[in-house]
């Protein structure tokens, strides 16, 4: 009950402050995430502090966030909850802190990886472009620019490209 009140307090505070927060990604969250976004396109990126190739993808996402504020970005760090401070700092420095951000919150990362995509070997960065019907294209490493543009056009209309 104490944990419940603490969590409720934290959530209410976050809602009141209107601030995005780094949330622990626990078993069941992938299913909830998909359910909350039924009929809506979104981008899901998995990254870690430990992965030198991930910084480029975070920069790519930050550019997307800036050019297309309407695009729903879910950014999940596969680091441990104990790394939350470093994860939050890096997200803030990259300009992604105000997006939907998470950090792996289970003792067994394989359980979370399995729930996200059982065909994923755990290599990072890993990005999924989800269409409205939640069919998705997966990318290990950087997202192919041409496919990102096609996905944007398909789900958000012609609009502006990445560069304003």
């Amino acid at each position: 009950m104490k944990r419940f009140l603490l969590l409720a307090g934290a959530l209410l505070f976050a809602a009141w402050a209107g601030a995005a927060e780094l949330r622990p990604f626990v078993p069941g969250d992938m299913a909830r995430l998909l359910q909350e976004r039924q009929g809506r396109p979104f981008v899901l990126t998995l990254w870690s502090l430990d992965c030198p190739h991930c910084k480029g993808t975070l920069r790519q996402l930050a550019a997307l966030a800036k050019a297309r504020p309407a695009v729903d970005l879910v950014v999940v760090s596969t680091d441990s909850l104990g790394d939350s401070q470093h994860v939050a700092a890096l997200l803030a420095a990259t300009g992604l802190a105000q997006r939907d951000t998470w950090v792996f919150g289970d003792a067994a990362p394989e359980r979370l990886r399995f729930e996200i995509d059982r065909r994923w070997g755990g290599e990072m960065p890993r990005t999924y472009l989800f269409d409205r019907d939640h069919k998705s294209a997966a990318f290990s490493g950087a997202v192919a620019e041409a496919e990102l543009q096609q996905w944007l056009a398909r789900n958000f209309g012609a609009g502006r490209g990445l560069k304003p």
Binding site: R3, F4, L7, A8, L11, L12, A14, A15, W16, G18, A20, P24, V26, P27, G28, D29, R32, E36, S48, L49, D50, C51, P52, H53, C54, G56, D72, L73, D79, S80, L81, G82, Q98, R99, D100, F104, G105, D106, A107, A108, P109, E110, R111, R113, F114, R118, R119, G121, G122, E123, M124, P125, R126, S140, G141, A142
Partner: protein, 394 residues
């Protein structure tokens, strides 16, 4: 993004609580190495609260004597996934321990080493093996003791990458560096580079060649952008010579796989390797063998079902054993298969152990002619499981 109103937050909270949302947990740091001494005593090294600790068991892992701290002063220790503290026994009470101590800077760490001359009662103060002391990558250490007592530590090092960056140049991948100690770990010789352009975060496998020298097997970043594996004797590559490609799946990806290989070498010098790669878009495990000159012995064999990862290899005479783990949605299963004829024909895979929660990568160790699975798991604890000889399927 979704901003929750207070009402929606409470609603969601109730919803998730009702649905039994899991409680957030810290990642388990379970990485454990174990080895037998000549008398059959099992020695183990792992991390507990900033200390690398060593303990020993006289009953095949059922119980352990009180653990001894290797590092008196606590420090950060990498003990999860591809990074593990390691232990090696060299007889006459000599015990060697190596680990990586991560630094607060991204990807940064130092390779650490300590030795005991009194059968693990006390350990000398730890020393840092990497002679480049910048706060950059010197991580994923791997320890080897040759038959003549020479110690080799190899690791992934980014000193060349950082130097290239300072000079405004591009640099592909990290590098494999190593250092040798000829005085039982009291000191280490200047660091040398085995190969430039290694992958950045996959463990390095070391095994003893027929003359006792260390052979390395690691994931490399080749000039064509593929992350296949390279095989080379430590000290056997002229500097700046590109290592030969040992695996040919051609996984072309600018990502960190976090899947390092394993290596075992038979008495005839045959190199047996097990590795993870993606071929034709399908990830999986592979086994292959090479002659001492590097020529492959047949085509590699895919093994393991979906999600199979983190293979371990052991060779005992003509007997070759493979172990790996796979998460099936509920639990992690370690499977084992073996060959009685040096890797030509293989038994069907069988389940050797399961874990309900987090687990370390499986390791295979031997005492005399007996094979064991060494596996640390969160819910069930540390397990040493004897692996009886299995029948080969023709």
């Amino acid at each position: 993004m979704i901003r929750l109103s207070a009402g929606a937050a409470l609603f969601l909270l109730l919803l998730t609580t009702a649905a039994g949302a899991a409680e957030p947990k810290l990642r388990a740091q379970l990485a454990t190495s174990a080895a037998f001494d000549d008398d059959g005593r099992l020695w183990r090294v792992r991390l507990t609260e900033g200390h690398v600790v060593v303990d020993a068991s006289d009953d095949q892992g059922a119980s352990f004597a009180p653990a001894v701290r290797v590092n008196a002063a606590p420090e950060a220790v990498a003990a999860e996934g591809e990074q593990r503290p390691e232990i090696a026994l060299a007889g006459q009470g000599r015990i060697y321990v190596a680990w990586t101590s991560p630094l607060p800077q991204p990807y940064a760490g130092h390779v650490r080493f300590a030795h005991s001359d009194d059968g693990g009662r006390t350990f000398a103060a730890p020393l840092t093996v990497n002679d480049n002391r910048e706060a950059i990558t010197h991580r994923f250490q791997s320890l080897h003791v040759a038959a003549d007592g020479r110690l080799t530590v190899a690791w992934i090092d980014k000193r060349d990458l950082e130097a290239a960056k300072r000079a405004g140049q591009d640099h592909r991948g990290a590098a494999i560096y190593y250092s040798v100690s000829a005085d039982g770990g009291a000191s280490f010789e200047p660091n040398r580079r085995l190969a430039a352009h290694s992958c950045e975060c996959c463990r390095i496998a070391l095994a003893s060649d027929t003359d006792g020298a260390a052979v390395a097997f690691w994931r490399h970043t080749f000039a064509d952008g593929t992350r296949d594996h390279a095989l080379a004797r430590i000290g056997g590559l002229a500097d700046d010579k590109a290592p030969a490609r040992a695996t040919h799946e051609g996984w072309r990806v600018n990502a960190c796989p976090h899947h390092g290989p394993d290596l075992a070498i038979g008495a005839d010098g045959t190199r047996h390797g097990a590795w993870f790669n993606q071929a034709d878009g399908v990830p999986g495990l592979f086994y292959g063998a090479w002659r001492p000159d590097g020529r492959p012995l047949g085509a590699p064999m895919r093994f393991g079902a979906a999600n199979a990862a983190h293979p371990a290899l052991l060779i005992l005479g003509r007997r070759v054993l493979l172990a790996w783990k796979a998460f099936d949605g509920e639990r992690t299963v370690v499977s084992v298969m073996e060959s009685a004829d040096g890797g030509r024909r293989w038994s069907a895979p069988r389940s050797a152990a399961t874990a309900a929660d987090a687990s370390d990568h499986p390791r295979l160790i031997a005492w005399r002619d007996r094979a064991y699975l060494s596996w640390a798991t969160l819910a069930e604890g540390y397990r040493l499981i004897p692996l009886a000889v299995a029948e080969a399927t023709p």
